[in-house]
Symmetry: C2
Subunit: 193 residues, 2 copies
């Protein structure tokens, strides 16, 4: 058996790390996942992929070996024209789930999706790669569930139309979530090393 290499997930979000670790453990990889809480530069851009790639580049001198960053956003396509989108994290810290519910409460329906973008610096090939994932759904009229984090208690995925992400276990959420889907692509890429 060959020795395992380290791969670093640059994040300060312990919830995200726990989700990613769960999927890593299920795959039988030649990598050990480590958390690295650095503060990358985040730009204001119109897509999470741009934000993630810029972040990745800004870290190049600070990490040895392969590493990745992840950016995600909740996009309320109707009626909020994609808000909070790229700025989901900031919006969550200020107006929170209550704010989103207040903004949509006079509307009967909503259309929403979560997007995740993982940007990986792959050391052995010296390449930067992007893996994306998406889950479609709608906004729950009420905050429901205690699992997950962020907007999870107000997002109802189309695949489980009676539950919010906040009501799903980590394993159930990972199967259908934006982040789970992006990470599954990353795992496929590094699987056979």
């Amino acid at each position: 058996m060959t020795e395992k290499k380290d791969i670093f997930f640059i994040t300060g979000n312990t919830h995200k790390f726990a989700e990613v670790l769960d999927l890593f453990k299920q795959a039988n990889l030649s990598y050990d996942l480590k958390q690295l809480d650095l503060k990358p530069i985040e730009i204001q851009a119109d897509s999470i992929a741009k934000v993630a790639l810029y972040k990745l580049e800004s870290m190049k001198d600070q990490v040895i070996g392969s590493y990745f960053v992840e950016d995600a956003g909740l996009f309320v396509d109707y009626p909020l024209k994609g808000f909070p989108g790229v700025y989901s994290s900031y919006v969550f810290k200020t107006i929170g789930n209550e704010g989103i519910l207040q903004l949509i409460k006079d509307f009967k329906n909503s259309i929403a999706h979560f997007s995740s973008c993982i940007a990986l610096y792959h050391d052995s090939s010296d390449k930067s790669l992007v893996f994306t994932g998406r889950v479609d759904g709608k906004i729950s009229p009420k905050i429901k569930g205690t699992h997950g984090f962020g907007y999870d208690p107000i997002f109802i995925p189309n695949e489980r139309p009676k539950k919010t992400f906040g009501e799903l276990s980590k394993k159930e959420k990972n199967k259908i979530s934006h982040r789970g889907r992006a990470l599954t692509k990353l795992i496929e890429f590094i699987k056979y090393e």
Copy 2:
């Protein structure tokens, strides 16, 4: 009389340029103000000063001579914990003034302020300088007025408690506005050259 030098205001916002030009014309400066619509890199940061300074630095190779950038934000300190703040421009494009009013409509009072930060690259001294301005007020329960731009029709400054910025002329707004105040400081700085 000495020949006038150019000074560039990097902005794609014609409303902002018009306001700044108005104040420049009133001062008798040895500079001619020119608009330059470049796309600087905007970072996600916790203060508009950081965003403005980063923007300024990102332009250094693209501009010859003195130039400045301006960043502004509306901060609804109560009840929205400073939202939309640093991301005012993005929030305006998605949920707009209607969104802000919807978020505060169950509250009797609000406390808000506009902040402006001008970052200047001063060619003759090879220095980067920051000038800030602020105006305190509250949010109007209704959209009022057709002057100005952005959040102007919902912001009531304490100095003119019966009118929104949208109901003031450019000259009246410039006297008390965040941007006018920041710019007055910049003008003081370059006045005696």
